[in-house]
Amino acid sequence: MTSPVMKTTANTTTRTTTHTTTAPVTAAIDKPRRKNPVLRTRQINLPPGARGRVALGFTAAAAEGRFALQACERCAAVQYPPREACHRCLSTELTWRDQPDGGHLVCTTTLRHSNDLFFRERLPWRLGLVRLDAGPTVMVHLHGEVGGEPGRIRVGARIDRAGMAVLIGYPEQGSAHMADDRMLREMTSDPRFRKVLVTDGKSAVGQAIVRAFVEAGADLVWVGHAEPWKKLGGLDDIGALPQVTLVPLDLTDGRSVTELAGEIAGKVDIVVNNAEVHRTFGIAARRGTDVARAEMDINYFGLLRLAQEFGPALKGRSADGLASATAWVNLLSIYALSSFPTHGTFSASKAAAYSLSQCLRAEMRPAGIRVVNVFPGPIDDDWNQHVPPPKLAPIALANAIVKALRDGVEDVYPGDVAQEWLARWRDNPKVLERELAGEG
């Protein structure tokens, strides 16, 4: 590479004024140094987070990683920013519709002063004006690899630390370390150099998640395992990875959660709560409530116990440098949206967990911690043995989680089944309910 290297450290910036061919390449960030323990841990100031109801439609799409703009049903105009009515024909028949992400960079500027606390702490900050292929001209946060105007650019909607969608201008072709861009790292939750807790390393899914985080460059992965006397395959292999430390963790036991939090919560940057109990009963197929209770105890109360102990620690470290605390991932299920009656009590526990996870998201938001909810369809494991394919491979689920963190996505529906159920649920929840009752 002959291109100049763009330093990503503070107070240094490159302002290119000519062509995209001279775009700087993002330098890979180094492993953050140990912090000076006599200095106060910086607390977060959130970026501006006020949005009107209409504008939240933009955030809703971005939460899934989609770039959607308001399109007029009457005159087909596409507009931004969001409004109550079409800017061209005043029709109120506006639909959020996915848009092509290409555009032309019109001009760029570098912010060197801001009275907004979030940007003030992150100056200089580069912005650009982009004429979208979809129509509107929009202001974007610029990735460091985007050269000066004029030039082609990709635009994406991302959820910022305040939980609101913002527009980001990407280079058409990024370099190997483009994820290390200083601005992008603020907008996403990249696992690189971060310390991760995976709550259950005994399941195939848990082990796939651990490997995916190790591959993604996580600094350290703590892997919880309950009931150590129950031998299940694969845990020894996971434990042998140099980044991995096995830790006793049983989400049914408040003391176990408290003890682990006391030991490591102050260092955890990403929590991945994948521990779950899944049995395949409805109401009549199993006498008693013990199975439903076991599901609820892990899937719902387990999340509650974990969030009470680890949540405050993550919130306190959400602005702690390049590898700050950043995200909380909950493994839910597409059945959380609508009951799959043959897995009825499991569905109910996941619906409860989904509701609690929304509460967690609201409580983590003031600290800028992203709560990511993952809604897989049937996973290819023992408890879905009788469910016909397609089933989600554990590794596919794990990769979807890492991708969501890298992309700054909040709601993940990995796999064909989840996508299809989501579409049916969006189209008409009542129809889906009746269809699922039939499948039982």
């Binding site: 009931e227 150590p228 006397w229 129950k230 031998k231 049983d250 049914t252 036991d253 408040g254 003391r255 176990s256 008693g288 013990d290 199975v291 076991a294």
Partner: protein, 276 residues
Amino acid sequence: MNQVVDDPLASAVANTTPLLSVLVGALATGRIRVIDLTQTLTPGFPQIALPPEMGQCWPFRIEEVSRYDERGPGWYWNNFSCGEHTGTHFDAPIHWISGRDLPNNAVDTIPVARFVAPACVIDCAAASAADHDYLMTVADIERYEAEHGRIPPGAWVLMRTDWSKRLDPEAYQNFDETGQHTPGPSAEAARFLVEQRDVLGFGSEAIGTDAGQGYHLRPPYPCHYYMHGAGRYGLQCLCNLDLLPPKGAVLICPPLKIEKGSGSPLRVIALVETTA
């Protein structure tokens, strides 16, 4: 005590002191010691593990209600949950299908006098250390009797294995891919104790009265099958059996009075005479 007994034993021999005063006096002087045979109830103590498709015994779990805080400013207390067969626990005959139709077969209806009884401790510690699947044999029992005399009717027989010294739950449970490997009685020994010695019950240090591989014996789980089928009891997850004499200890082990209960966690204590 308001009244000091000078020499209770001498007065008892002279039939001038009530027996219980003798006991109280002996306890006060340390002539009789009380030994705790109970594991502490803690969330980390393992529970019986069955295949996941079966119903499961709850482990011990505990949550604070308040601790001199905003939830209760002047007091500390907890809620706990567990199964009837969690921690050091008692098995009633109704626990097993072979004892399900016997009279007084549940913890609430067993005559309370049964909860105080002598104990014979058969030392299988060395054999169990050498073989985790060790099965106590009739020969082991006969060897014990040759040294310590015949097991009296109505006594507990406790199998000392020192298994309770395995403080790490993983070592205590001792699972591999073929299941659990813990010592217990052979089918013949269990049957012999019931039919030939009329014991009150059988006690063990491991998580069950039967060996870890007891499912593969004939009949499966022979100690449960024979003991409970004959209205006898079980004690498991005992500890400190190494502090008991081979004979002469008295166990006090009343389970909780749970209606139609199949068993219960309990405090097991032993009265032991010190040899002065």
